[in-house]
Symmetry: C2
Subunit: 340 residues, 2 copies
DNA sequence: GGTTCGAATCGAAGCGGTTCGACAGATTCG
DNA sequence: CGAATCTGTCGAACCGCTTCGATTCGAACC
């Protein structure tokens, strides 16, 4: 394998000169620079990553720490992942994908071995164990998800409070007065899936302001359970005219549940979900929904992380970036049917 | 950060002795070994990955090269990915996830920089450009997907020929005599998505043997197009009593298409898909289906790759491992309705 | 016309591991 | 009992790259 010594020899200069010619960190005569560049091209020289890391203490690799649970909607994770790997590459970084269940162990192992320049954490929970480990580690980090205490790191998430309010407001202004919110399974919340209750609490508070009846239930994450859950809650609240779904599995199951009950949207019932347009089109989820903005969040997190790695961001101030929710209207929202 | 010199000093030995004590490559007295191990524990020593890579020419990292297309079912990719990262970690390897659209460029860059010990290629097509690059690179590779010429690499895939035959056989023995096969979009095939026509050709051949009418169509990968496609093909072949779906989006769209037409499975029409159980349960795909075995294939590929990295597998013989298709029966297969 | 300065280049050291050869001391063997 | 062998340890070299002085040379300055 060709190394910088080969390049230097081919260009007729010393190794250090070859290095400077490529990095531009010292002035090099145009003639020499061109010789070096030609040698690089002809020999197909690409620096040895390990050697460079050893010399510079930089690897140009970031770690992406995922957390995958059976009872959460794993496929949605891929959208975050792709946003992150793609943006990282654009900025000159490769991505180490870490999916170990022992997130804390993985974090310290990878940090101490200096394999990466920084961390992106996915699916961060309310009081995420990984945060403490993160703070004792030299590399910077960016989170996707909002923990209770985001001090010392940058956090990026959808504004779930605003999302809860937006859902309720939209149905309220369309004339609905009784609605059902279906959240993720309860143990997602217990595990610290803060976004679930951030949305639910905000929705509840806003419903109260408007004088709206809002029934809140937790739904399963898989068929056939979630289908039964939906049937049960529709039975329990026959007067509800709106359905808010903060649960992708519920959105996937709903069409056939509605068909079986002889209901259609939006004439009989209005529906607002929360998932991406990509998902809606792939999985036949024909409901208006708040986009989860996975790609955008991933990209923002990486950009911030990279600017920290390059010491471009102020070291002691950290951002919490909550992006505003938007409804993609697919026609499942309308005035409630007239009462009789 | 603590290095092996610190450990050696704490244990009162030389650096080389500390190294040997940890690697076990030379005999070391029990007393010294214990001192070194204690020092490691107390100091929290973890070797510097770059330095180790430089010295050993091994990184304990593998690269996972994905290819993601808008018109393929991206979320399914996550199942392969998780199988691979998890198994790799069990075997002591971390995984670099590479999603660049320029797969060949990424491959040569990463190979030449010696960042990884081997490659897993996902979504390998009939005449995959990356294969040529792969053969000129020192690291071994394992493929998920079957190219026309798998020489020099190990390939793992579902046996799509057998899958095509299995679908047809199953409906045939249940009494069906006319059926429709819905494949992935045509440009997936043109791009080299060999699995599409491997299944289709085998199904066609088997149908011919049985004297069955098999109509083959390519379907879109997203709503609302795929819904229209399904409607059109059902209109075109009103006598067909079986539907074979080698297209996940079609499976997702089918329930509402059938509901609209007033059809139900399996009494009016039998359906066999091809996707994982996990998908069926998450996305409400209530059809019997051949499991795509993503997790298993990913794990197999990694195991083989790691044994090559460790030079345990014979260097000049390579395997093609096609795993046998199995139908998960979810009750969408039955005898066709009586003719009238 | 000697000093000063800047441009261009080189040699050597260092990053943190692993590994080869040497060696001292204890054991075994003929 | 001297020679051969084994055990356990050490020092030095090396992996490939970056970077810090040091050096040379020509131009600018007074």
């Amino acid at each position: 394998m060709v190394n910088i010594g080969d390049v230097a020899r081919a260009a007729g200069v010393s190794r250090s000169t070859a290095s400077y010619a490529l990095s531009g960190k010292r002035t090099i005569s145009p003639a020499v620079r061109q010789n070096v560049e030609r040698a690089v091209r002809e020999l197909g020289y690409i620096p040895n990553a390990g050697a460079r890391a050893l010399a510079t203490s930089r690897t140009d690799v970031i770690a992406l720490l995922g957390q995958f649970f059976d009872d959460e909607f794993a496929p949605a994770m891929l959208q975050y992942i792709l946003g992150i790997t793609d943006r990282a590459r654009e900025l000159g970084f490769d991505t180490l994908l870490v999916t170990e269940s022992d997130g804390v162990g993985a974090l310290t192992r990878i940090a101490s071995s200096r394999m990466v320049d920084g961390f992106v954490l996915l699916n961060v929970s309310e009081s995420d164990e990984r945060l403490a480990a993160l703070r004792s580690v030299p590399q910077p980090a960016a989170l996707v998800g909002l923990p209770a205490d985001p001090r010392g790191v940058d956090a990026f998430d959808l504004d779930f409070d605003a999302a809860g309010r937006l859902m309720v407001d939209r149905l309220h202004e369309t004339g609905h007065r009784e609605m059902i919110l279906v959240s993720q399974p309860e143990h997602v919340v217990e595990r610290g899936g803060a976004y679930v209750w951030r949305l639910a609490d905000a929705a509840r508070a806003r419903a109260k302001e408007h004088g709206i009846r809002l029934h809140h239930v937790f739904g399963s994450s898989h068929q056939p359970d979630i289908g039964r859950d939906l049937d049960a809650v529709l039975d329990a609240h026959p007067a509800a005219t709106g359905l808010l779904l903060n649960n992708e599995a519920a959105a996937a199951a709903l069409p056939s549940v509605l068909a079986t009950r002889g209901l259609s949207t939006p004439s009989d019932i209005s529906v607002i979900g929360r998932y991406s347009d990509e998902f809606a089109r792939t999985f036949s989820l024909p409901f208006s929904a708040i986009d989860s903005a996975a790609d955008l969040l991933g990209r923002r997190a990486v950009e911030r992380l990279v600017s920290r790695v390059r010491s471009e961001a102020p070291a002691h101030s950290h951002v919490v970036d909550l992006i505003a929710p938007l409804i993609d209207d697919r026609g499942s929202i309308a005035a409630p049917p007239p009462r009789h």
